[in-house]
Symmetry: C2
Subunit: 139 residues, 2 copies
Amino acid sequence: MLRLTRRSEYGLMALAYLASRPGEYCSVREIVEELKLPKRLLAEVLKDLSRAELLEATRGPGGGYRLTQPAERLALARVVEVLEGPVAMTDCMAHSCDLEASCIIQTGIGRVTRNIRNVLEGMTVAELLPAQPETPLAV
Amino acid sequence: MLRLTRRSEYGLMALAYLASRPGEYCSVREIVEELKLPKRLLAEVLKDLSRAELLEATRGPGGGYRLTQPAERLALARVVEVLEGPVAMTDCMAHSCDLEASCIIQTGIGRVTRNIRNVLEGMTVAELLPAQPETPLAV
DNA sequence: TAATTTAGCACCCAGATGGTGCTCTTCCAT
DNA sequence: ATGGAAGAGCACCATCTGGGTGCTAAATTA
């Protein structure tokens, strides 16, 4: 429906939060309380992000998640791909099409898809945070 | 899931088809046979498009649908809006948000949404068709 | 060893989406 | 005027995905 799933939405929120505390390990509990999101679900999402190595996790007291790389280098496209698969306007663009022959808009949709993907690749998690010039003095 | 619905997909295909026969009334049956799409569903979609006045319909023998305006002036965004509601990355962007307070990526998502919308507003149905320089000599 | 925190698995529910059947109405052509 | 063609409306169903939860295991630190 041309919408991000909640997984992506929550994931982006959490990543943005983590971006605002560079270096620190933040527990799911903390993030959830801060952002008011459903705990189990966010946990699920963070796990996926960590499996994809966008985050790293530490267990035990004082543990939690943190970014594996500066938010300025983390493209939104990457996040969405991890959380909901390839960025594409239609399934045929993501995998393959059984209508190829009769599909007259194949190339056109291809172009749209590419443009959308560019938008998502051109923006980073760092840019999600409200005005905050280049992270003045952080890690 | 950041995908067009099939309704949009089929709708765009049909519009592109109609764009390739400017002026002519094409019946649902004809379109369906040509593009190999599910009849009832496509009919449903075309009805919606005609209700939104992107198409005009004529009944009876020789009837069918045709574009109400040149395809060069019909933005993809318009079609998607008719078929699946406002173009927005999240529901909060389309309507309103109950997390506003704790949502730290509001402005950021707003920017993404605007960019995506621009992509869809910048492309027309005419551009969906494969290379075809400005419709040489048609209506 | 106890407490904290992530990881893995299995499951449920609701709503959106894709798809179909049937009947009614409109309208053209003869 | 009349019959057939074609769109419109309505009601319905099946399936899939997505949101959300519970419980237990494994890891880590104090």
